[in-house]
Symmetry: C2
Subunit: 375 residues, 2 copies
């Protein structure tokens, strides 16, 4: 066996994540590793917490980064807040709503489904009806920005309805955080998870999570132990916020947290509203250019995510061949369709550091060349 | 709020992990992120798999890195192999045996405890007796190298006994992998998990795991779904080894996997036996020097881990003050005692890249200076 060091090419990442990463964030990864209980590292974690509170627009004391990817962040919310026998309304308008259902079932709870078509947002009225028809629902779970379809749902309205019925809101903000308006406290969201590798433009592997005081209260009044030891937040919190002395729970991914810190410093320096505006502006530009190539969007204009543009593959065009050529010839990654959209849609990401003029220029010109050859 | 970029100091890490990391591994982290389904990345993952097979000394097809720290690797073994109502013998001679018990209980299975004193190895005869007294045990779970005490257990004998009784062996090799002899196939171990940040000297955040064909068979014949979606290996395998087409499960921690690849290339280049010998040689040297300072070991000589030296804090010495001074004055991290050993032992790691002459020299001289002042 002879295996050499791996030197990846420099791709331009315009898929559904991981997104393009700022050189500053990449460089921060290589800084010397310190111990996960080192006082300087603990101080840095406190800063990560403050910066995440800013990004989530929350004062929630419970605001941390789970030491694993976004799907573990999702699981963190369900295993800590939901117990066997609980009823949870799960809104399903794409892959990640279905994954939420999987989580609810594996906790031993009952999932009550509110289905919308792929590419459409969650219908708040349908959520309201489901709550009326199912007394005693503990939580309403939905995806703010569906990464599989590019549709944005009205998190504010859905959370308000949940609150009216005394239910918690559990919100997937994996693709929304940092890319579109997300106001955790103002909208009254209870448990929100995200990922490091979308609009935060950090490396994949971490999942920012925030719980409202109400969610923390629910967690503290559990009757059964959390089924996951690794994701049991009552234990994790002793590490992230133990007063005075931090307790060891697991070894934190030190260098990945350097990168998250740096990515959040960049976001804070730019300002959240400016970042949202930049995503919106870049989306407008991309949209115009794509339309000039005759490419149509899957999602209606008013529910479109600026940071994730799901478009129909033009008739007669070979999906895999085009994406392969974009990758080989231009080092450009564009996302395949997922689930129902597999083979008939592309997902073009403009996330975080990737939401830039030069990325759009490359994408449009490369698509123009490749599509003209494939016809 | 004003938060600046974080520039950690260069520490020498001689605690229980994270360990010192080679500059080559740190540099690999900063390489440009590629997509987690990029063909070049998939090829690199295949190499990681081959290199892990080498490190574990196994031909197990199921050999991967879980996208989370070692404690998630532990949970991966239990949630995939153990079902509610199963009986599991858990050997407990330190913190991590107790954590295994926690995992067994949270799966809804019954934990039958075999206790040994902290600092002692697991007693194979006690395991045998427990198997005789408890027919129908599904698995025997034990820690090969107890990170909390520095004791090495006889994995080969314990696994052989488990096999005689038709039970699986579930083995914690977090601190042993790469530091002492570990022969997964020859010893017939069924499920083994480790961590990236000990003797592999990679950044924390990944957990190498290998399952024998028998373990894979047990997994495939489950009656109940795996309670964790994130750690469900039947889903994860479609990403790590899907023939032809890899399926998306979660977004892999791309850059951390670059680092694991590089760390494993370094291990393969050095050779496993050489690495084991180096750990042993450096331990002998450290031992002699510590003894010359009048410092005694906690664990009997024959069961001592070379890579993790647990020593008694000399009488009259202030634990926290000494460790703090080592850190502030010499940028040297030495581990505190854990659990029962908190406040009365130090854990001095010689792991992976940290098992070097210069680290021992620094540690001994710094200890000499600080201890002479503290008396």
């Amino acid at each position: 066996m002879h295996i050499e060091s791996f030197y990846p090419p420099k791709r331009t990442l315009m898929g559904p994540g991981p997104s393009d990463i700022s050189p500053r964030v990449l460089q921060s990864l290589s800084r010397p590793t310190v111990g996960h209980l080192d006082p300087l590292f603990i101080k840095m974690m406190d800063e990560v917490k403050s910066l995440l509170q800013y990004a989530f627009q929350t004062k929630n004391e419970f605001t941390i980064a789970v030491s694993a990817p976004g799907s573990a962040g999702m699981e963190t919310c369900f295993v800590n807040l939901i117990e066997p026998g609980d009823k949870v309304i799960v809104c399903r308008n794409g892959v990640f709503g279905e994954r939420m259902r999987e989580n609810v079932v594996r906790v031993g709870a009952e999932a009550i489904l509110v289905d919308n078509e792929w590419g459409e947002p969650v219908d708040p009225h349908a959520v309201e009806k489901a709550l009326q028809n199912n007394p005693g629902v503990k939580a309403v779970a939905f995806v703010h920005a569906e990464t599989s379809t590019g549709a944005l749902s009205d998190a504010k309205s859905i959370a308000a309805i949940a609150q009216q019925f005394g239910a918690l809101s559990i919100v997937d903000a994996v693709t929304s955080l940092g890319g579109v308006s997300l106001l955790v406290d103002e909208w009254g969201l209870d448990a929100v998870y995200s990922g490091s590798q979308k609009c935060l433009s950090c490396v994949p592997g971490l999942s920012p999570v925030t719980f409202s005081p109400k969610a923390v209260e629910v967690m503290s009044q559990r009757k059964s132990p959390v089924q996951s030891w690794f994701l049991d937040q009552s234990l994790v919190l002793a590490y992230w916020s133990g007063e005075g002395k931090r307790s060891y729970h697991h070894t934190a991914p030190v260098n990945s947290l350097y990168a998250l810190h740096e990515a959040l410093v960049l976001l804070h320096t730019e300002g959240l509203e400016s970042a949202w505006q930049r995503h919106s502006d870049m989306h407008e530009k991309l949209k115009k250019e794509l339309e000039s190539l005759g490419i149509e969007f899957v999602v209606n204009e008013e529910h479109r995510l600026p940071q994730l543009n799901t478009v129909k593959i033009p008739a007669g065009v070979d999906d895999a061949q085009v994406r392969n050529q974009l990758l080989q010839q231009f080092n450009l990654e564009v996302g395949a369709g997922l689930g129902k959209f597999s083979g008939n849609a592309w997902r073009i990401g403009l996330m975080g550091y990737g939401a830039r003029e030069e990325n759009i220029a490359l994408c449009i010109q490369a698509l123009r060349e490749v599509l003209s050859q494939s016809k």
